[in-house]
Symmetry: C2
Subunit: 155 residues, 2 copies
Amino acid sequence: MQHHQLGMDIEQDGEQELCWLINDLTRIMTNEFNRRLRLQGFELSRSQSRILIRLARQDGQSQTELAENLGMEKAPLGIIIDKMESSGLIERRPDPKDGRRRLVYSTAKALELLPDIDKLTVELAQQALEGLSKVRRMQLSQNLNHMKLNMLRDR
Amino acid sequence: MQHHQLGMDIEQDGEQELCWLINDLTRIMTNEFNRRLRLQGFELSRSQSRILIRLARQDGQSQTELAENLGMEKAPLGIIIDKMESSGLIERRPDPKDGRRRLVYSTAKALELLPDIDKLTVELAQQALEGLSKVRRMQLSQNLNHMKLNMLRDR
DNA sequence: TCAAATTAGTAACATACATTACTAATAGTC
DNA sequence: GACTATTAGTAATGTATGTTACTAATTTGA
């Protein structure tokens, strides 16, 4: 602890802990979601589920659009899309208007899974937020959004 | 959107979004932290930094202890520790009292880095939390901790 | 119209994690 | 003291992500 000597350290420690806490929560919730998917015999992951949910809202996006939509890089998304194509959850069709683009569509197999995935998502959120009032949930959303904007600013 | 028809969907959507938001924040903050480490020429990652910070508090933990401490599995921790040993940030010494255990110690090289890492951690937290009052930060911590406990309960 | 700049996607490589299955060492019990 | 159960660590394999560098296709603009 030799590098902790200033008076404001207690607050700083709390703030750093808060950041790790967010990390941990992500890990825990992702693991739990994946565990439940496996329990139900579904052979896809939380990230793949998220992609299916997005496609349900807007089918036939290009990979780049989808990546921006999800706030991630297009290269890693491409790999996930590869796997989902192999397992028959999505298919890629060339964009007739732009030979560079490949549009991503969910398959019938994916649509079949969707209600269950949706249910799992809702249940997980409910478990995580159990005991928090509506007001607190709203504050939480606002504060996290605030943090996200803080991080995205001047980058 | 055909699977979204109930009256409570707006709330549920918000709650699901909240969960993804936590995911995204983790990704964004981790990337930003790693980017800054690289900018400063440090050849370690955010996770490795966290481990060094833990060891600064309590040096010479076994891998299993450290894993529990960080809330992660011992197998993946072992891999990270391997890398950190290769790059000279930690060293493993056998526990004289228990031949199965290998105690993890930070090296002089790591101790040299520590102040800078600590500074980066504080700066990142400050940027993320900028504009949030002390009260809001406390609420945020409480609410996130509440969620974590909700997720860890009955597992 | 043709060369240059931009854009979409992929490949290669790296990190952080998980799970399962294994080995080696210790501890506990009869 | 020997047999069994537990514990520490590792190995193998898989997923989600990042960065950098590349190719192919399109758009732009002189």
